[in-house]
C-alpha cells in the first residue's frame, strides 16, 4: 500500500450495549422462526387467501433489495466511470449489499412454503422465462455470488503476509501464503468482469422487482399500478443507492467515533438532484399519461399515502440536495438522505401492500407480531454482521495508520 489513505479493520470492542440489544432482537426473531418452521406460515403471519404476500415480501425482500442498491451504484461510479474519489465508500457499500442480499435470501426462505425447493429455478427443466419472479430470482442469485467474489480481496488482504498457522501446520505457512498471493493476483485481473456483471445484474433485477406487481392490474390501486413500474423501480434504486451510502457513512462515523467523510459525501450528493428529478418527472408523466392525476385530490387515504411518499420521500429531499449548505452539513445531508430512504422504502411497501386490493376483500392486512419479530430480527442480524465485518476486515478507510495504532483495544 503506497497511498496514505487505505482500508483497515476498525479497532474497537465488538460487544457493546448496542450489540447486546441486537442479539436480543435476533433471539426473539429466532424463536418466531422456530414456530414458523414447525407450525407453518399460518401460525406466525396474518396471511390468507386474500393476502398472499405481507411484509416479508414488502420489507425483507423489496425494501432489502432497494436499500442494498448502494453496492452497485458506487461500484459503477468508482470503478466503471472511474470517479476514484469515491473509492473510500465502495467497500462499505459493497459489504452492505452483500449482507443485505444475504438477509433477503434468509427472509425469502421464511416466506417460501416449500423453502427446500428454493433451488428449483436453477434446474433447466423448470426454467420459466415467462415469469418475472424467475428473472428476479436468477439475477439475485448470480448477484449474490458476484458480491461474495467482490468481497474476497478484503479477505485475502486481511490474511496476506499474516498467515500464521498453529503448531504442526506451521510448515505450511509459506505454501498458504503463496496460494493467497496467486489467488489475489488472479482475482485482481478478472475483477472488472464481476464488477460490470454486478452492475448489469442489478439493473436487471431492480427493474424486474417492479415488474412483479404489473401482473395484477385488477388488484392494484391505479395510483401505483402502471406498466412503467419496472422503470420507476430502477430509477428509484439509482436514487436510493447514494443516499444509503451517505446515511451509512455518517452513521458509521458516529458509531466508530470517526469524522464523517464529507469530502466524499458532498460531491456524491451532487448527483442526487439529477437522479431524483428523473424519478419524480417519470412518475408525474406516467400519472398524467394514464389520466390519473385527478386521483391525487380525491381525498382517499391512498391519495394521502401517495402524497406523503412523493412529497416527503422525493420532492423535499430533491429541493434540499440543491443547496450547498445541505451538502456541506453532515446533519442536513443525513436528513435529506434519510428522507429518500424513507421515500423508497415507503414506495416499495405501497406497491406491494398499500396498493394491493384483493378482489373479494373482507379484511385489511396488518402484520402479525411474528412477522414483525422475524423482520426485526433479520434487520438486527444485518447490523450485527456489518459490525463484525468492519471490525475484522479492511472495509473502512483510515486516514493514516498512526491514528489507528497504539489504541490497544482488542477487537473480536
Amino acid at each position: 500500500m503506497s497511498s496514505h489513505v487505505h482500508a483497515a479493520p476498525i479497532r474497537m470492542r465488538f460487544f457493546t450495549r448496542g450489540t447486546w440489544v441486537l442479539v436480543a432482537l435476533m433471539a426473539v426473531g429466532f424463536c418466531f422462526a422456530a414456530v414458523r418452521f414447525t407450525k407453518g406460515i399460518g401460525a406466525v403471519t396474518n396471511l390468507d387467501n386474500q393476502w398472499p404476500w405481507g411484509i416479508w415480501i414488502a420489507i425483507d425482500i423489496a425494501c432489502g433489495v432497494a436499500l442494498a442498491a448502494g453496492g452497485f451504484t458506487t461500484a459503477a461510479l468508482a470503478h466503471v466511470f472511474h470517479r476514484e474519489k469515491f473509492e473510500p465508500i465502495v467497500r462499505p457499500a459493497l459489504i452492505t449489499a452483500m449482507l443485505g442480499y444475504t438477509v433477503v435470501v434468509i427472509g425469502l426462505l421464511a416466506d417460501l412454503g416449500r423453502y427446500y425447493n428454493v433451488w428449483h429455478p436453477m434446474v433447466p427443466s423448470m426454467w420459466s422465462g415467462h415469469s418475472v419472479l424467475f428473472e428476479v430470482g436468477i439475477c439475485v442469485m448470480f448477484y449474490l455470488t458476484v458480491l461474495y467474489i467482490e468481497f474476497l480481496p478484503m479477505v485475502t488482504e486481511r490474511f496476506r503476509g499474516r498467515v500464521a498457522l498453529p503448531g504442526a501446520l506451521r510448515p505450511l505457512n509459506g505454501f498458504v501464503e503463496g496460494l493467497l498471493r496467486l489467488f489475489d493476483r488472479t482475482l485482481g485481473r478478472i475483477m472488472s468482469v464481476f464488477i460490470i456483471a454486478g452492475v448489469v445484474l442489478s439493473c436487471m433485477h431492480q427493474s424486474s422487482l417492479g415488474a412483479l406487481m404489473v401482473i395484477a392490474p385488477y388488484k392494484m390501486h391505479p395510483l401505483w399500478w402502471t406498466q412503467v413500474l419496472p422503470l420507476l423501480f430502477l430509477l428509484s434504486a439509482f436514487c436510493v443507492g447514494p443516499c444509503m451510502v451517505i446515511f451509512e457513512s455518517i452513521l458509521a462515523s458516529r458509531a466508530f467515533g470517526r469524522r464523517p467523510e464529507m469530502e466524499v459525501l458532498g460531491p456524491l450528493s451532487k448527483i442526487l438532484p439529477v437522479l431524483l428529478f428523473f424519478f419524480i418527472s417519470t412518475k408525474a408523466m406516467d400519472l398524467a399519461v394514464r389520466g390519473q392525476l385527478y386521483r391525487l385530490a380525491d381525498g382517499s387515504w391512498q391519495s394521502v399515502v401517495f402524497l406523503v411518499e412523493m412529497g416527503f420521500g422525493f420532492v423535499l429531499p430533491f429541493l434540499m440536495f440543491f443547496s450547498a449548505r445541505v451538502r456541506r452539513s453532515p446533519r442536513l445531508l443525513f436528513t435529506a438522505a434519510t428522507l429518500v430512504i424513507f421515500g423508497v422504502a415507503m414506495n416499495r411497501i405501497d406497491v406491494f401492500l398499500v396498493a394491493f386490493r384483493p378482489v373479494y376483500a373482507t379484511k385489511h392486512y396488518f402484520p402479525h407480531v411474528g412477522e414483525l419479530a422475524i423482520t426485526t430480527g433479520l434487520i438486527a442480524f444485518l447490523i450485527f454482521a456489518y459490525r463484525f465485518v468492519v471490525l475484522n476486515f479492511p472495509v473502512m478507510h483510515v486516514e493514516d495508520a498512526a491514528s489507528q495504532r497504539g489504541e490497544g483495544v482488542p477487537h473480536a
Binding site: I41, F81, S128, M213
Partner: protein, 305 residues
C-alpha cells in the same frame, strides 16, 4: 490487462449470458380442443350437490351429503379455499322475487396469469383445458395467488412441511379418462354442461338467441382475460353475481410483453454490459497514461514498494 484480454473475458461472459436465453418463451394460445364447462346460472337451484361431489372426487374432507343441504351458508358470500375447491353463492334476483345461485371455482383461463407468474412452471395449461398444479415443482412463493384475477388459488398455511396451492383441478384425471368432472356429473338440473369449449360457446349463443328474455347477451369467460375454459351465462349483469369486471387481455400478456421487450435475446443486458465495459476500459486507459506520465515526471524521487 491489455485491451484484447479485457474484451475477451468480457465477451465470454456476454456469450454465457446470451446462452442462458434458452428460457425465452412464446405467447400462450388457447389450446384448440380444450374442454370446458358452461354454467347456466338461470338453471341452478342452489342444491350444493356439486360442492359435495367435488369433495368426494378430490378426496377432500368429506361430510355427509345432508350437511350440504344446509342453506344457512348462503347468508354470507363464500370463497373456495384449500379444503373446498368449489362453492355456490346465492344472490338476489334482479327485477324478480327470489334468488339466483352461482357456482365458483377456477375458471381455467386460456392464458392463465397464475401459470405465467409461476417461476418453476408448477402451474401449466394442459391441452385438454385444465390448469394443472404440480406440488413437486412448487416453491410455495404464492405469486400465483397474487396474479390470479379471480382470487382462486388457496394455500395450506397451516402446513409446515409440504403446503400446497389448492384449487379446482378440472378433475383432470377424470377428463383425461373420458369421464365428466365430478360436479358436472352430479348436477341434477343440467346447469353444468361439459364439452369442447368451442361447442359450448356456440351452445351459449344459441340459448341467448333463443331466449332473449331469459339471458343477458354476455357469455362470461368468452373474452375475459383472454378467455376461460369455464363459461357462464346469466339473466342479470355478472357483477351482481359476484363476478369481477375484467378486460379482454390476459394480465400475463402485459408482463410478458414488458419482460420480452427488455430481455429479448438478452440484447439489452448484453449491450449494457458491453457499453459499461467500454467505458471502464477507456477510463482505465486514461488513468494508465496519466499515471505513466506522472511516474516519468517523478522518476527518481519515487521509491519502490
Amino acid at each position: 490487462m491489455d485491451r484484447r484480454d479485457f474484451l475477451k473475458t468480457v465477451g465470454a461472459v456476454g456469450v454465457g449470458i446470451a446462452a442462458a436465453d434458452a428460457s425465452a418463451s412464446t405467447a400462450v394460445h388457447a389450446p384448440p380442443d380444450a374442454f370446458g364447462v358452461l354454467v347456466d346460472t338461470t338453471a341452478c337451484i342452489g342444491c350444493r350437490k356439486c360442492e359435495w361431489a367435488c369433495n368426494q372426487v378430490n378426496e377432500l374432507p368429506v361430510q355427509p351429503l345432508e350437511e350440504f343441504e344446509d342453506k344457512a351458508v348462503f347468508a354470507a358470500m363464500r370463497r373456495p379455499d384449500a379444503g373446498n375447491f368449489t362453492v355456490v353463492n346465492q344472490w338476489p334476483r334482479q327485477e324478480h322475487e327470489g334468488n339466483v345461485w352461482a357456482k365458483v371455482q377456477c375458471l381455467h383461463c386460456n392464458d392463465p396469469a397464475c401459470a405465467s407468474a409461476c417461476l418453476v412452471s408448477a402451474l401449466e395449461k394442459q391441452p385438454n383445458g385444465a390448469v394443472k398444479y404440480d406440488p413437486w415443482r412448487c416453491m410455495g412463493c404464492r405469486y400465483c395467488m397474487v396474479a390470479c384475477p379471480f382470487q382462486i388459488p388457496a394455500y395450506q398455511y397451516a402446513d409446515a412441511l409440504s403446503p400446497e396451492v389448492r384449487k379446482c383441478t378440472f378433475c383432470v384425471e377424470r377428463i383425461s379418462a373420458g369421464e365428466r368432472p365430478g360436479c358436472v356429473e352430479i348436477c341434477p338440473v343440467e346447469c353444468l354442461i361439459y364439452g369442447k369449449r368451442e361447442e359450448l360457446l356456440s351452445l351459449a349463443h344459441e340459448r341467448i338467441g333463443a331466449y332473449p328474455d331469459r339471458y343477458l347477451d354476455h357469455v362470461y369467460g368468452e373474452h375475459e382475460v383472454g378467455g376461460t375454459s369455464w363459461l357462464y351465462i346469466a339473466g342479470q349483469p355478472f357483477p351482481s353475481l359476484g363476478f369481477p369486471e375484467l378486460g379482454e387481455q390476459s394480465p400475463a400478456r402485459i408482463t410478458e410483453n414488458i419482460q420480452h421487450g427488455i430481455f429479448r435475446r438478452f440484447i439489452a443486458p448484453v449491450a449494457l454490459y458491453a457499453t459499461l465495459a467500454q467505458v471502464m476500459w477507456l477510463g482505465s486507459r486514461k488513468d494508465e497514461v496519466a499515471a505513466a506520465a506522472h511516474k516519468a515526471e517523478q522518476h527518481g524521487e519515487e521509491h519502490h514498494e
